[in-house]
Symmetry: C2
Subunit: 352 residues, 2 copies
Amino acid sequence: MRLKEFQSRLRKEDIDVAIFISPDPNIFYFSQVDMLSFACLIVPAAKEPVLITSMLDYERSSKEFKTVKNVLTLKRKKLSEFLADYLKKIKHGVIGINKTALSLYVFSKLRKALKGRFVDISEMCSELRAEKTYTEINYLRHAAKITDGVMKLVLDNFNMFKTENEVEAELNYLAKKQFADRSFKAIVASGRNSSMPHHMTKNRPLQKGFCLIDFGVKYKGYCSDITRMVFIGRPSEKEQKIYDLVRKVQENAIKNIKVGIEGAKLFSAAKEDLGKYGENFIHGLGHGIGVEIHEAPNLSDLSKDVLKKNMIFTIEPGIYFPNRLGIRIEDMVLLGERTAVLTRTPKGLRRV
Amino acid sequence: MRLKEFQSRLRKEDIDVAIFISPDPNIFYFSQVDMLSFACLIVPAAKEPVLITSMLDYERSSKEFKTVKNVLTLKRKKLSEFLADYLKKIKHGVIGINKTALSLYVFSKLRKALKGRFVDISEMCSELRAEKTYTEINYLRHAAKITDGVMKLVLDNFNMFKTENEVEAELNYLAKKQFADRSFKAIVASGRNSSMPHHMTKNRPLQKGFCLIDFGVKYKGYCSDITRMVFIGRPSEKEQKIYDLVRKVQENAIKNIKVGIEGAKLFSAAKEDLGKYGENFIHGLGHGIGVEIHEAPNLSDLSKDVLKKNMIFTIEPGIYFPNRLGIRIEDMVLLGERTAVLTRTPKGLRRV
């Protein structure tokens, strides 16, 4: 995606060539080919990019290419030798690297092999990726739609599950039936377990009380993310009240979204909105979503990110009482001409 | 695992403290707690280790700890500030870091905040992890057993699947029913697709010919890995012959395993064994397996790894004819007193 725009930004900042080495989500972002082994993407500022894959991915990458036509393998060369030879053919005084993904180990090899000044392009990439293209918006919309479909089936048939593990198995299975992989390991947390925002789903009978389901899929490499609560049994008045509060705060946060507002500001408004429960809100309000499940913008306390048009991110306030219960409601939102909520599963507290 | 041994190696090499920052598989290896968000593990050479988690994982990590009792969160501190404060309390002239996992970005923050000389401990960790403990061998044995069970059910019922995607969905589902997550995205490659060692499973009708199934699970954080072939339809004499060759080469390679032999030597023996098809063997012969699906030892061309007792690794020769077909057979092997094959699914070519 946005390869041309990236190249024009490289030229603007006088960077001659960018080199991405796996694991780096930018390789998928720019090439749109999902590789399972080693890969390296070279993007010269003013020439066609080159994708280097392992032999394991070579035939597939050369068949499935969308944006990068030159697909090569290292043969018996080492990557650093290959790069040194390749760069001789192009201008390479200034080399862009992604400091957030590149390991110290690989960098030390690059530095030895390549002549040139290295500059960090991690922010350039994350800014570029944060504003989605028309095609990306469609992919993310579709990922959200699949997620809603899976969630509906699971919620409608919730009585057939005996354990958290069975719910997780079904979420994955139904997604695959829609040809979508999961975007992260689903969280199914019932009873006391719901107080742990990142509970690891257990093989224990589902407990009475709140049950949190946090789940997402990948469609054409683009992630979705949603959280819904069900209540096993009958909520007390207080439980219902707390749930309604989280829901109201989540809906208010969505209303507050506008171009130019800071993520940190949305976060603090939501925290304040939670009143005395603000201190039980122990994570960020949301995160950008795209080829990675978490990417820019960041909607939390210390973030400096500002919301822009065509960003897609989650809004997910939650409150947690250690060893007792937790509640989180999460949707994917597109900041377009207006704000559009992409995940549409109803938010009323469902009793099962 | 082997935390005491690791600390004693740190002392031996005059390293005062090791710092691991996520994503780094060594954090799980030493703490045996699976974290979903940010984490940092501090292992002083001569004091109790400290695990720093995000609030999202905090309650769970403090409940589930096995080896690391001190679990803390950053509160509103930055990691580099926290580390600077913490290190003041202990000797920290020499700080061990894992260069293969640490990003340039995080390292630049550490270097600014901490006084001390940084040394790479990546090899120390990978050597330690390559030789499995008694407990790890049991976990890996059990992971292999679950895998065999899932594979048997899928092979026995292969006729009910119409697409590669359905096979993948079922593999994941059956593993979950055994309370095991997948260790990687399964590969199901039928017909011509089998020629791509890392084919991405498709939603197309299963094609006649060889169908490759490469799959693994995670049990208590430890991975399994197996590849089996089925034949949809009736193989020609030549196809059966090529299959039998790969099987023979795989079984020979297992026979050649012994303490002290180099991974590269096993690889070249297998390649030679494949005769004229040696050039169609386009990947390594195998890889260590543990908390990561690929870890030391490496059994390939350029590897310098030497096999030792209690290592567990795969043996997986394969031959590939681009655009036509591919065959791979893979087992997990334990190099104990004798060599034990942990995955036991029969290797005869199954016709379905």
